[in-house]
Amino acid sequence: MMPINAKITKIVDETPSIKTFFLDLTLDNKPGQFVMVWIREVDEIPMSPSYSNAITVQKVGDATSALFKLKKGDSVGIRGPIGNGFTLSGKSILLIAGGVGAAPLAPLVEVAGGKKIKVKTLLGAKTASELLFVKRFRSAGDLQTATDDGSDGHKGPVTELLDELDLRGYDQIYSCGPEKMMSRVLEMVKGANMASKTQFSLQRYIKCGMGICGTCSIDPSGLRVCVDGPVFSGETLIDSEFGRYARDASGRKVRL
């Protein structure tokens, strides 16, 4: 799979730290699959498309900063789609999204909407202005928000909203966001015996995106986030490294 050239056709500021880059390319992915985005002269990084022709990016380091400097008309290289993506099932689903983790979940709720699946979304961010895709989640179903500073919705971690819900009332649960948040979700779904019905989208250092280099393998299963994931059932993640540590570019363990 060679990178395909994609021209940026439009850039939308979603939040102070997040932008959406529309491309002249249909990415043809299932929600939750990802593409490798080659920012020339800098790096190639994984991104889960937020629309059929767009990626939504949070600026966190070198490559994302370089991406933020690109303008309409500039281009990037795209390889993908890669990985398994989310599996939609059931009649009523719950989503827990944190920060830019909303990116792959927004297209998921839209597919669910088209299939008349009932959707409830819990969306968290640091502050009101950082809440991503509020309109998209709201128009697809029920939305509850949480912010660290209480500037919108519940004040506190988005996972606290789970305390009030009967998790067993949902056929399937989906989560994407910071690992600390997802790890709390795992604890709760485990408690509710819903781990096998919960799908988590993991973020690990992705180098090859082809299941060859092994950089993204998780303990103790050895499963590869890039091709065996990035979406894993909660059951697979119980007693794994998930929520405890990850590995950096050199392969060194880094506590979360």
Partner: protein, 297 residues
């Protein structure tokens, strides 16, 4: 069908080995490969200090193979020794190591030796990390010196992985003189791909190493020539993805094959190849030993 075989001082349950740098960064990953049928597994190459590797893209699937410039990312032997320890148990684990000179090789070997790997593989052939690998592996004198120093430092078998040189026999002989228990041929071939839309070389490091199906005939030639000239075992690597490929290597003289890129299509490649080899041998009522080197006419 019994596929047990003696390879470079190790006894393997079958002649398929996970190649260095592929799914070899953690104990869990190595064990997963072992569970999928590999007769032995090789770790990612480890050095004296942590390296993040080259910027991406680091690996590209070309029309006929794969091109990589990982840049030897590794957490250093200090960190990796724990993974190595945990990796042991299922099948023999071969520790691939690299350094910029004999002293560094010795340091890494001694460091990892605490975890009792079943063998060491000296990476004298990686083509895309300045000052390492191929830079040393093209020099017979250095190959001999590095092999000797590691051989003296450890008690387990030492394999030497060679670059795909025209005169590979020369460095193979140097490894043999240095006391190697086996040579492994070949590492990737220096190569590149350019994106015509943007005019950029695709790999972050621009130049990388070609692996996969494209290089199989080159690897086979190297194994054939090494087997004819050396007294130690030869292990074939480069483009093996089917039992037919494996048999070709064995007929050229390989004692075993290592498999890297073919993981892309199927992690079950080890089991599938073993099964295919067994069927081939059964049909002919032959053993692996009967087949080894028959193409040497």
């Amino acid at each position: 069908m019994d596929l047990r075989t003696d390879v470079g001082g190790l006894r393997l349950k079958n002649p398929t080995i996970l190649a260095a740098g592929v799914l070899g960064t953690s104990a869990a990953s190595l064990k997963r490969v072992a569970q999928h049928g590999a007769g032995a597994v090789t770790t990612k190459s480890t050095g004296v200090s942590p390296r993040e590797g080259h910027p991406g893209p680091v690996l590209i699937k070309t029309e006929h193979g794969f091109l990589n410039a990982m840049g030897l990312p590794n957490p250093s032997y200090h960190e990796f020794v724990r993974e190595l320890e945990a990796a042991k148990g299922d099948v023999p684990v071969i520790a691939s190591i690299f350094g910029s000179n004999a002293k560094e090789f010795e340091e890494v070997a001694l460091g990892l030796n605490k975890a009792s790997p079943d063998a060491f593989e000296l990476n004298l052939s990686c083509p895309h990390a300045e000052g390492y690998g191929m830079t040393l592996g093209t020099d017979p004198q250095k190959v001999k010196e590095i092999t000797e120093i590691v051989k003296n430092a450890v008690d387990v078998p030492v394999w030497v992985k060679l670059p795909p040189l025209m005169n590979i026999v020369e460095v193979g002989l140097a490894a043999q003189e240095g006391g190697a228990d086996a040579v492994v041929a070949i590492n990737t071939i220096p190569a590149m791909v350019i994106d015509v839309e943007s005019g950029y070389p695709v790999l972050g490091n621009k130049v990388g190493g070609l692996s996969g199906a494209a290089i199989k005939p080159v690897a086979l030639r190297c194994v054939y020539e090494l087997y004819a000239a050396l007294n130690i075992d030869v292990i074939g690597v480069g483009g093996v993805s089917s039992w037919k490929d494996a048999i070709e290597f064995i007929m050229a003289g390989a004692s075993a094959v290592e498999i890297g890129s073919a993981i892309y299509d199927n992690i079950n490649v080890f089991r599938n190849i073993s099964k295919g080899i067994a069927q081939f041998l059964e049909k002919r009522q032959r053993t692996l030993d009967d087949m080894r080197g028959v193409a040497q006419k």
